[in-house]
């Protein structure tokens, strides 16, 4: 099967900065694909390479099997939802949504009808006459989505589309985007720096750092089986354990990852486990996050709220299931 998007050794350099460095990537048709990474990791540049706003310095980009180098954005059947929405301020909502059809020469009655339908799809029916300036952030986000979807793109690109929304709205939109993608079956490529967002929405996640892809896999792969220290730390702030420490428990001299929720904290000073000291507690509502110091090694544990905790500064004993200690590929 042809990939929806295929990168073969794609690089994009800006002067001496390697924004994207020899990236190989295959995105399957109909997939909800997330590109996750810190700012400056190259994920947005990859998105812009698909949209056509950037051209690769080297390598090749294909969209549904067709080579896309040198093809301008307006000849790609790919649409983007921009980070700050980029709605046209001089057009009302309906004309914004109908813009793509208008420039393609679709008749007025037909394109306004399609735009109205797209607005219903994002649950904004009847908002057509308003100006973008009269809408809230969440509504603008929906208009931007409708404006892209009305063109029935082969691939929909979303550049941190939920970044500017408040928490509650963001959670709602995550669910809506996910169900919308299921209904429409369009390939979604989603850029985010929020690991929770990537894990909860995507079918597969690519973790970016320094212009390279560190790991590609299902959210579970990425979360449970990170292959490098960077992925373990960036996705869900796992405890990265040094090879000497790992060797004591697994017998192998490799870097290890231990999820904070896999650590149990006991108020005991002797017994089987890692001796540590509780140095801080962070109340998070449903859970409490504990900062621990195990003989100079800084660890975090997450325990359910309401767990009886020793006072800060006291000695504790840490235990964990050997199976939850994940050994990483990164050389020691």
């Amino acid at each position: 099967m042809t990939s929806a998007v295929s990168f073969k050794k794609v690089s994009r350099h800006f002067g001496s900065v390697r924004a994207v460095d020899a990236v190989d990537l295959e995105i399957a048709p109909g997939e909800f694909f997330a590109m996750l990474g810190p700012s400056g990791s190259g994920k947005t540049t990859c998105l812009r390479l698909i949209a056509g706003f950037e051209q690769p310095t080297a390598g090749s980009v294909s969209i549904f099997g067709e080579r896309a180098e040198g093809v301008p954005p307006y000849r790609r059947n790919v649409n983007t939802v921009f980070q700050d929405y980029a709605l046209f301020p001089h057009l009302n909502v309906l004309d914004n949504v109908a813009y793509g059809l208008m420039v393609k020469g679709v008749g007025k009655a037909e394109r306004l009808k399609a735009a109205e339908e797209a607005l219903s799809l994002v649950r904004l029916p009847g908002y057509g006459a308003r100006r973008p300036g009269q809408l809230s952030g969440g509504q603008r986000q929906r208009v931007a989505l409708a404006r892209a979807l009305v063109n029935q793109p082969k691939v929909l690109l979303l550049d941190e589309p939920l970044g500017a929304l408040d928490l509650k709205l963001r959670e709602n939109m995550q669910e809506e985007l996910k169900s919308l993608q299921k209904v429409l079956g369009i390939t979604f490529v989603f850029v985010t720096h929020d690991q929770g967002e990537a894990l909860s929405m995507a079918d597969r996640v690519a973790v970016f750092n320094d212009g390279r892809i560190m790991q590609v896999g299902t959210p579970e792969d990425i979360y449970q089986r990170p292959n490098t220290r960077f992925v373990a730390d960036f996705v869900g702030s796992s405890n990265v354990l040094p090879p000497d420490f790992v060797q004591r428990y697994s017998g192998q001299h490799r870097w290890g990852s231990l999820r904070p929720e896999s650590i149990r904290v006991l108020s005991a000073t002797s017994g089987d486990g890692v001796a540590a000291r509780l140095v801080g507690t962070n109340y998070l509502g449903a859970t409490t996050r504990l900062a621990l110091d195990a003989d100079g090694l800084r660890l975090h544990a997450v325990v359910p709220a309401g767990t009886a905790l020793p006072a800060e500064g006291e000695a504790v004993l840490l235990t964990f299931n050997r199976d939850s200690l994940h050994l990483m590929d990164e050389p020691a």
């Binding site: 301008p72 980029a86 813009y99 793509g100």
Partner: protein, 321 residues
């Protein structure tokens, strides 16, 4: 700092006033911000209200007087006769000529200014941006008269332009143009074409700067969004860039249009013997001593600009503001 140190800090929670007139004034202004605003606005409001608007009304009043044709004295009785005089064929000719010239100069300025402003707003950075501002503003620092006389030399029959065209074997083009009725003449420096060129040159900065400011406010991602949605560069220009730059173009055209309507020096130095409104005002209030007619002529650009702005507003030129 320890807690004990914070608690024993001897500084009072509320500081004493600085005292004296300055302190009292500062406190007064803080308590009554409107008083400060009034104090700051009073001089410019007095200037605008009395000196500026006042003299404009005096002018308007003059235009409703008439002149006694035998004695040459001004008859201070309300009449519309002076305005009637504006519609004499010779005067109507002057008005029509001036408005047409102003419209053409505005159009040409907009067409020339847009690419320059676009480059400056979207591409020029750092040193190039500074060079752009210098290039646009520098001509404004030198005397208007010097520039016009310089152009007279450039456009004259023995001038550099004729010389250049002769070297390029293009004199036939110039001669062909000059032999045309209305726009032609003995040389560029005594033709309407020359007047037009110099008007465009002199007012161009007033068009470039507002267009550049308007384009600068257009976020770059709107151009990307348009392209992303399938618009070719031409469609993006028509549907996004031009509408968003329109308030800037209208602002610039207010300058180019009204400055051309009122100017009397350029057509006097470079051009034909046919008058423009400014020259008509100049000669009516001076040699002819017909102040009422001069005042009526002055009202024409005010009325034309009023219609122009009303039309621009109706066309939606200010919608993107």
């Amino acid at each position: 700092m320890t807690i004990a140190a914070v608690q024993s800090n001897p500084t009072p929670a509320i500081l004493p006033g600085s005292g004296g007139l300055r302190g009292a004034l500062s406190d007064l202004f803080w308590r009554r911000p409107k008083f400060l605003l009034l104090l700051m606005l009073a001089p410019p409001l007095l200037w605008l209200g009395i000196v500026y608007i006042g003299s404009l009304f005096a002018l308007l009043a003059q235009s409703f007087f008439s002149i006694d044709e035998f004695s040459g004295l001004i008859n201070r009785e309300f009449t519309l006769k002076t305005y009637g005089d504006l519609f004499q064929a010779a005067n109507l000719d002057i008005i029509l000529r001036t408005v047409t010239m102003a419209a053409l100069v505005t159009l040409a300025s907009a067409v020339i200014a847009f690419p320059i402003a676009y480059y400056a707003a979207r591409y020029a950075r750092g040193r190039w941006k500074a060079l752009f501002y210098l290039g646009v503003m520098l001509p404004l620092w030198s005397s208007y008269l010097v520039k016009i006389y310089a152009w007279k030399l450039i456009l004259a029959k023995e001038g550099i332009l004729t010389w250049l065209l002769a070297k390029l074997n293009l004199l036939w083009l110039l001669d062909g143009w000059l032999s045309l009725p209305i726009v032609g003449g003995n040389s560029l420096s005594v033709s309407f074409t020359g007047t037009f060129i110099v008007f465009v040159y002199v007012w161009l900065p007033f068009m470039i700067l507002p267009v550049q400011a308007a384009l600068e406010r257009v976020p770059g991602n709107l151009v990307e969004a348009s392209s992303d949605l399938g618009a070719s560069p031409g469609q993006t220009f028509r549907n996004v860039l031009f509408p968003l730059a329109l308030p800037g173009i209208v602002a610039g055209s207010i300058f180019t249009f009204s400055l051309t309507l009122g100017d009397y020096i350029i057509p006097q130095i470079i051009g034909t013997s046919r008058l423009f409104i400014g020259q008509a005002v100049y000669s009516q209030q001076g040699t002819a001593g017909n102040i009422p007619l001069a005042a009526a002529f002055t009202v024409v650009p005010v009325v034309v600009m009023g219609f122009y702005l009303w039309g621009a507003k109706r066309m939606g030129a200010f919608d993107a503001l």
